[in-house]
Amino acid sequence: MSDVTAASMGGAQASLDASSLAGASEVRDWITLLKPRVLTLVVYTGIIGLLVAPVALHPVLAITAVLCITIAAGAAGAMNMWYDRDIDAVMRRTIKRPIPAGRISADAALTYGIVLAVGSVALMGLATNWLAAGVLAGSIAFYVVIYTMWLKRRTPQNIVIGGAAGAFPPLIGWIAATGSVEALPLVLFAIIFVWTPPHFWALALFAHADYERAGVPMLPVTHGARETRRQVVIYTVLLVPLTLVPWLMGFNTWVYGAVAALLGANFLRHAWLVWRDEQDETGVSLTKDMPAKRCFKYSISYLFILFGALALDRLILA
C-alpha cells in the first residue's frame, strides 16, 4: 500500500470517526433541547397523579399518558430555549446550550418544539381523553406564553405565577385516568405551585449574577438577597401546612401526615438557615451562599420523597 493511499484511508477513517462523534453529539443536542433534568420531576409527579387516581388506567394507556406529559414538557422546554436564546447566550449556566452555541438553528428548535407539542396533545387525546389533552395543551401554552414570553423578563414574580406550569403534571395524570378534576389533584397542584418559589429563589440566590447579566428580573436582582431570603421563609411556611391537607381531608393516613410534617420541619430548618446566613450590610452572603445551595438541593429531594410518601400511603394504607 502506498503512503498516499494509506494517508488517504487514514484521513477517511478519521473523517468517519469525526462524523460518528458529530452524529452522537447531534442526538445529544436534540435531547438537551427537551431539558431532560427538568423532565425527571415532571415524569415523576405525572406518574404520582396517575397512581393516586381512584381509577386504574390500562398499563398501555398509562405509559402513553406519561409519555405524552414527558414529550409535552420537553416541547415546552425546546420552545423556551428558542425564545430565550438571547439571554441564554450571556448566562454562564446556559451559554453551552445548543442554540446559543450555534449547534442547532433557532428555527429548527422552534419547529421541533411545535411538532412535539402538537403530537403529544393529539396522542394524549386519542389515548386517554380530550380533557387531559386540553389541560396538557394549556400547560404548554402557560409555560411558553405566560411564563417565558410574558412574565420572565417583566416581573420578579415571574416564577411565582410561572410556577403553575410545573404544577400541572399530577393534575394531568389524574385527569388522564379519571376524565375529571377533583380536590386531591388540585391540592397536589397547589403543593408544587407553592414549593416552586423557595426552590427557585434558593437557586437564584447563588446564581443571581447570571440573571443580572442577562437582565432577568429575578427577586435577588430587583429586591436584593435579604428580601429573597425572607420570601424563601414565607413560602416555606405556607408550604408546610399545605402538604398536610391530603391527610386532613382524609385522602391519606396519619403516616403520610407524619412524613410530610417531618420533611416540612427540615425544609423550614433549611429556609431558616438561608435567612440567618452570614451576610454583609447589603445582604450579600459571606459564606458563598452555602445555606441557599443546601436548601436548593434539599427542596428537590423534599418533593420527591413527599410525593412518593403520598402515593405509597394512598396505595398501601389509605
Binding site: S15, S19, A22, H58, L126
Partner: protein
Amino acid sequence: MSPEERVIFERRRRARNWAILGALAGLSVLFYFISLARLLRT
C-alpha cells in the same frame, strides 16, 4: 463542500432519517397497542 464535510453531512442526514423512521415505527406500534387497550376497555 469538502469531501470530509460531505461525509459528515451525509452521515448526519442518514442518522436523522433513521431517527424519524424509528419514531414513526414506534408510534405505529404504540397506536396499535392503544387501539387494543381502548377496545378492551369498551
